[in-house]
């Protein structure tokens, strides 16, 4: 009897704690950078509630966009976004559990093993109208590190690949010293942290390493990690572990490193900051077909002065919603998010405003939603 009672109590306490922690993760949504006060005509505001979930890489950006949007619309609209991962974003969107999804990679057009249709076809069936990918947050993947006495680091892609593969094991390895003259590197062991969950961030980093250092990173890019090290669930757990471990290095969307106040390594002499970052994102090739906007990066040919590992994360939406009110809400929110003023307000968190050619394509795509 006693046991059942205490388990019941702990179950209640646990669900309470989960609810509390869910509240806690929304922290900085309202705070920074909102002074620019992005505005929207009252007539363009929707009403009611929108639910969305998916990619954590865009979490900080969308939280900020939501709080600005709700403020601009006098809270007539409530938008909920939970950062459950890109895979969940695709799945829940296709299962019609959320009105739009967030994902680091556009809906796949090839059939995955074990599946009967492509992600795009499945989402289109769920929508009853073509499903669209709309990129709204652009940023970069950074290698955040914690090495006692070192606050600036510069690596090239081959060295980075070797570190992540476990081929270089000490911070004072000659390969690292070669690109860091003037920095005293300790003989600490390198501790690599990777995402233990399948992750769009992992896949994008692997794409970069495979493209630029194919002889070191021989594995085909995948959502599962193929390198060395120890795994932690989610970007914020990686950030926490890097903070707590001397000699640690881990990869994450730059916004997470910024929030954890971690130093991020430069790649080829370029830090993922303002100018290099936007140049990196501008280097992408935009391909828009009937409102479906996809960005691809050729990592082997980065533009001069561009940070080499940019990423773009997408919103997954229906081109025509069965419920016109939902369509209006989605269109209104995404349109607001795409605005220059909103993009500028989000940038300080570790993102880049959409480059012009991309913005043009996104605006056209959003205008077509109904």
């Amino acid at each position: 009897m006693r046991i059942t009672r205490t388990t019941a109590v702990s179950a209640i306490a646990l669900s309470g704690a989960l609810a509390l922690s869910a509240c806690g993760s929304d922290n900085n949504a309202g705070g920074t950078g909102s002074t620019a006060a992005a505005t929207i005509a009252a007539a363009d505001c929707g009403s009611g509630t929108l639910n969305a979930e998916g990619s954590t890489a865009q979490l900080k950006a969308i939280q900020q966009a939501i709080s600005l949007y709700q403020a601009a619309c006098n809270n007539k609209v409530t938008i909920n976004y939970s950062g459950t991962g890109s895979g969940a974003g695709v799945k829940q969107f296709t299962a019609k559990q959320v009105q739009f999804g967030g994902s680091d990679s556009a809906l796949k057009t090839a059939v995955a093993s074990g599946a009967t249709t492509t992600e795009l076809a499945a989402a289109t069936t769920a929508c009853g109208s073509p499903a669209l990918d709309i990129p709204l947050a652009a940023g970069a993947i950074g290698a955040a590190f914690n090495v006692k006495g070192v606050d600036k680091l510069n690596l090239d892609s081959a060295t980075l690949a070797k570190i992540f593969k476990g081929a270089i094991t000490k911070w004072n390895d000659p390969a690292i010293a070669a690109t860091n003259s003037g920095v005293t590197l300790p003989a600490t062991d390198i501790k690599v942290f990777f995402r233990s969950d399948e992750s769009g961030t992992t896949e994008n980093l692997a794409k970069y390493l495979h493209a630029t250092a194919p002889d070191v990173w021989t594995d085909a890019p995948a959502k599962a990690w193929k390198g060395a090290g120890e795994g932690k669930k989610g970007s914020s757990e990686i950030a926490k572990s890097v903070v707590a471990t001397d000699g640690a290095i881990g990869y994450m969307e730059v916004a997470f490193a910024k929030e954890a106040k971690l130093n991020v390594s430069s790649i080829g002499g370029l830090a993922p900051e303002s100018d290099a970052l936007s140049k990196g994102v501008s280097g992408g090739t935009v391909k828009a077909t009937n409102g479906d906007v996809r960005v691809t990066f050729d990592y082997t040919k980065p533009a001069a002065g561009a940070y080499p590992i940019p990423i773009v994360t997408y919103e997954l939406v229906c081109s025509k919603y069965a419920d016109a009110a939902v369509g209006k809400n989605v269109k209104s929110f995404l349109g607001f998010w795409a605005k220059d003023s909103t993009q500028q307000a989000i940038a300080p968190l570790g993102y880049v405003p959409l480059p012009t050619d991309l913005k043009t394509a996104v605006d056209a795509a959003v205008a077509g939603i109904s």
């Binding site: 046991i3 969950d197 795994g231 669930k233």
Partner: protein, 324 residues
Amino acid sequence: MTTETEVAQVLRPANHRRQDQVFKALAIGASSVIVALVVLVAVFLVTQAYPALRQNTANFFTSRIFSIDTPPIMFGIADLLWATIVTSVIAVVIAVPLGVSIALFLSHYAPERLARPAAQLVALLAAVPSIIYGLWASQLVAPYYLPVQDFLEKVLGWIPLFSATNTSGGATLMFAGIVLAVMILPIITSLSREVFAQTPTFHEEAALALGATRWEMIRTAVLPFGKPGVISAAMLGLGRALGETIAVTIIISSLSDQNRQSFSLSFFNGGETFASRIANNAAEFDTPTKAGAYISAGLVLFVLTFVVNAIARVVIERRRAFSE
């Protein structure tokens, strides 16, 4: 007067019988819901796991590979089973002696006014949500645990179980086991205490009358009487430790494929238990095959926990037969 008539009305035979039937139906309904739930869960697990198991090209029980992204689909549970069992067994090995000592203190040493609040404090441990244990352990306790691990590595490092690995800090199987021990302590303590308190007084008095000291009395009367109870308490604790998810997911580092190439026996390695592996990847069940692979791992955990709990029940039943 009115009360008497009311009582008489309540006890009127027709009424009486109807109430009895209603209550019986409710009770039967409630208990069949439970049975149906368990059966449905089992059916769900089996039907979801079966297609993936059919496609599996590796040996499900002995393979250490978990590659389900691209064909050929290969997955095995050897590593998960190892990590799950190691952490749970460490937890039980630590928690049982500790829990039994606390229980003996509460039932036979502590004065009544101390025993009551102390027992409630232990029960309160069970009310701490496991995510709190996970955060508390990984953020706060890990730095204090590190010297212990370093010491063990230095002194016992020649035994493969205690050899050093490159997993950082407190993210090891050993540390997870220690935290699990704290989490299952309340179950073990409160169950053992209840059994010890039931020791027939004449057993104890007989031992004391024969000149036994208090410790000898406990050894000869209380412990033998309580042994089956302690065993079943340990089993229930083990059952909880096997399935614990969030705390373990937060604490242990998973290993990369590269680090897993050579199998390490060390308790100071990272790894993934059944539950933490599923929790780590729950967001990415994007194809039926992928989901099926994880669900078949879940099925093994389900069976394992079921068996452990069943053993505990059997032991409890036997003991009841004994003492009556």
